[in-house]
């Protein structure tokens, strides 16, 4: 016994010293003297999950943490496919994150009513909104709630392969909005979806070299398609023909906008009747599905898509370019995606979360936008962005088309909130998939059934 006491005392003294030192560690040196506030940044309801992007996101977090000893941010990356369900589960279990993003209009609408109103924080911090084009901040205002700050925008344009036009002896589509299209015989016609369809038929070619307007054309052996709409979302397809919403305005009655119905008929007939758009099964084949977008395969002449599809467009070759969106019934629309970061209303640290959010859309925005391939919402940063983007491609691309497209953004936004948002999306997704995989359907009946089905859900 006597032998152990002398060893025990120094050990206890050492332990006390360690505990004292631990108490005086980094946390004790913060501004308030308390432990740093822990924030969780949840990604990726939109872009942001690629390894290169995550690397940038982590670097951005590290920089923020280094500068703010009173706030510790932790990045949580959940892949897009399961991000929505995971976030829903986290919120349900009372374990929601603080900051969420980048998230688009649709991703945010799926969690309608759960975002923090940033208005009071913008006011108290005197956040400068004058650096954005007028009305840009309104993209993120839902009713009276300012859910986000402008960050990234992705206008839609028409991607096309110039060599396929040259090969067919056709002029390229116009780059300037309002310009007409010129046929080889000298005719000048309005640049609209009727003209696009005529072009697409000529640019759809079978293995024998016959185009879709010629006798003997074999639709079962097409090697090149004339047109590819953005097929991920029927609302986007509709908005490319004209802005609208399924909500007739009263928040209770479903009405399919005429332009959307026209767009969906165009899509369906293009696949199963006119054959200048690939059907679902063809779209899934290795030959035409180039990294998720048919245009990237190099076997499609024209495609409507957001700016973000520059991520894989190099797969289409070195002769692609951008043209103006076609009009429909005299109206031109460029569906525009708008990503930003949002704060959950249930965040326990809204002030700190707003500080971090201001950092993401402010000092860190350059690095993040570059990683996401997104056009800055801040007008002063746009030229530098396009300069950098142009450096990624060997061909000369008319980026001015993108800048001009901003004027034709869809209002109301196609992804804006509507009643029973997720259920409605599910029904739209089912019809989209059905149309892509089943020929011989009567579109009038289909549209009526779709409307009735959505109305049923809204009536509950």
């Amino acid at each position: 016994m006597n032998g152990t006491r002398p060893r025990l005392l120094p050990a206890l003294a050492a332990l006390a010293s360690v505990l004292t030192l631990a108490a005086c560690g980094p946390g004790a040196g913060t501004r308030t003297g308390a432990a740093p506030v822990e924030l969780r940044w949840y990604c990726c309801l939109g872009t942001g999950e690629q390894a290169d992007q995550v690397k940038v996101e982590r670097a951005v977090v590290d920089k923020f943490n280094a500068r703010h000893r009173d706030i510790r941010v932790k990045l949580e990356v959940v892949t897009y496919n399961s991000a929505r369900d995971t976030l829903a589960t986290q919120i349900a279990s009372g374990n929601g994150p603080d900051v969420v993003g980048p998230v688009g209009v649709g991703g945010a609408a799926a969690f309608h009513g759960q975002w923090l109103d940033l208005g009071p924080f913008i006011k108290s911090s005197a956040f400068d909104l004058s650096t954005y084009a007028e009305g840009t901040a309104d993209l993120y205002r839902i009713g009276s709630v300012q859910e986000g700050l402008p960050f990234a925008i992705y206008p839609s344009t028409l991607y096309y392969k110039a060599d396929l036009f040259t090969e067919a002896g056709l002029a390229e589509p116009p780059h300037k909005y309002g310009e007409k299209y010129r046929w080889p015989d000298g005719r000048e016609v309005e640049w609209n979806y009727d003209t696009l369809k005529e072009l697409a038929l000529k640019l759809t070619v079978d293995k024998n070299g016959k185009d879709a307007t010629e006798d003997g054309f074999d639709p079962e052996s097409i090697v090149q398609y004339g047109f590819e709409p953005a097929r991920d979302d029927l609302r986007y397809q509709g908005a490319a023909f004209g802005a609208g919403s399924l909500d007739s305005g009263d928040g209770e009655t479903v009405k399919i906008p005429d332009a959307w119905a026209d767009a969906w008929r165009f899509f369906y007939d293009g696949m199963w009747k006119d054959r200048f758009i690939m059907t679902g099964p063809v779209f899934e084949t290795d030959q035409f599905n180039g990294d998720g977008a048919a245009f990237f395969s190099g076997h499609v002449a024209m495609s409507v898509n957001f700016l973000w599809s520059t991520y894989g467009v190099a797969g289409a070759g070195t002769d692609w370019n951008l043209a103006a969106m076609p009009s429909h019934d005299g109206t031109t629309t460029s569906p525009t995606s708008a990503d930003t970061f949002r704060i959950l209303a249930r965040s326990k640290h809204p002030a700190e979360a707003f500080e971090f959010l201001s950092y993401l859309v402010g000092p860190a925005s350059g690095e993040l936008l570059s990683a996401y391939g997104a056009m800055p919402a801040r007008t002063a940063d746009q030229d530098a962005f396009f300069g950098k983007l142009a450096g990624q491609f060997t061909n000369t691309v008319d980026w001015q088309v993108v800048k001009d497209s901003v004027r034709y953004a869809d209002t109301p936004h196609s992804e804006a909130y509507m009643p029973k948002y997720n259920q409605t999306l599910s029904i739209l997704g089912t019809y989209r998939s059905r149309w892509m995989t089943k020929g011989g359907l009567d579109m009038d009946v289909e549209l009526k059934n779709m409307r009735d089905e959505i109305q049923d859900v809204w009536d509950r």
Binding site: D85, E284, R434
Partner: protein
């Protein structure tokens, strides 16, 4: 009138009490697990069915009576998804019950050489994680995949679009399911090995050929095993979920043809964020499974033969 003496249970000895206590301690972890992860959640979901818990709409919590059940009857998607499950069951149940039995009979036959190797080969796929198996099958069933290429080689000009055609996707899922038949084969093999050989000897003496021995000896003797695999298959079909979730990201594609009831239930909970209505769907699933299982038990009296007394 004479009083009937009441037989009292003999008091437990000290040792018996100790043994009972130890037995209880051994099953306690299971009881805790059952209460925490099955019984209490079941009661909770039943209570939820009478409330309006939803994450997507910020409504105050209130008692809604039978509103969720009323909604269920008018929910087209719920009935459509139940029909998807039923269609799959009609095709899958005969396959999952009959095929392992027939393969086990074949492997067990004295005329088949290399039975041991066959057993290993047939069981091996079962060891592969199901998600990995589903993804491998996806690559085999895509439009330019191995199966279509093989069909083209044997002269089928336009082979089915297994995963993209609403008509062919259910047969495609059945094909994928064949991957997991290994355990059924092993169970059937164990059953076959348990049939007394004197029954076959007697049948042979009576002049019964292969078919009559199968029909009058093997099938009746195997009926408890077949019944067991059928019950498991029914429960599995009602819970079928993983493969369509993995292959189609839970979208129900193509055209809603793979929106199984359990998938719709999952969507209702986690995508639509409607916890109360999701609970109502879960209870419907439970009731249907219970009714079908009880029905099968009732019918089993007519065709399942137990050799020992119960």
């Amino acid at each position: 009138m004479t009083a009937v003496p009441i037989r009292r249970r003999a008091p437990m000895s000290r040792m018996a009490r100790r043994e009972a206590r130890h037995g209880f301690l051994f099953v306690l972890p299971w009881i805790i697990g059952f209460l925490a992860f099955t019984a209490i959640p079941m009661v909770a979901t039943f209570v939820f069915t009478f409330l309006n818990i939803t994450l997507s709409e910020s409504e105050p919590l209130r008692f809604v009576g039978l509103e969720n059940y009323q909604r269920l009857f008018g929910d087209r998607q719920a009935w459509a998804s139940l029909w998807v499950t039923a269609r799959f069951a009609l095709l899958w149940l005969p396959v999952v019950v009959a095929l392992p039995f027939l393969l086990a009979v074949a492997v067990n036959s004295r005329y088949v050489r290399g039975g041991g190797l066959l057993r290993v080969l047939l069981f091996m796929p079962y060891v592969v994680p199901f998600v990995a198996g589903a993804l491998i099958w996806q690559n085999m069933l895509v439009d330019d995949g191995w199966i279509d290429s093989a069909l083209r080689r044997i002269g089928v000009a336009h082979p089915p679009s297994w995963l993209n055609d609403p008509t062919w996707v259910i047969p495609g899922l059945v094909l994928i399911g064949l991957w997991g038949l290994g355990s059924g084969i092993i169970i059937n093999l164990a059953g076959l090995r348990g049939i007394p050989t004197h029954l076959y000897d007697a049948a042979r003496l009576d002049g019964a050929g292969w078919w009559r021995r199968l029909r009058h000896v093997t099938i009746p003797m195997m009926s408890p095993v077949l019944f067991y695999t059928m019950i498991l298959a029914v429960v599995d079909v009602m819970q079928y979920f993983l493969v369509p979730l993995v292959l189609f990201d839970g979208s129900g594609d193509p055209g809603g043809a793979t929106r199984f009831f359990n998938l719709y239930l999952y969507q209702t909970f986690f995508t639509f964020q409607e916890m109360s209505y999701g609970s109502t769907l879960a209870w419907l699933l439970f009731v249907i499974t219970l009714v079908v299982t009880l029905l099968l038990f009732r019918l089993s009296r007519h065709w399942v033969h137990y050799t020992s007394e119960r």
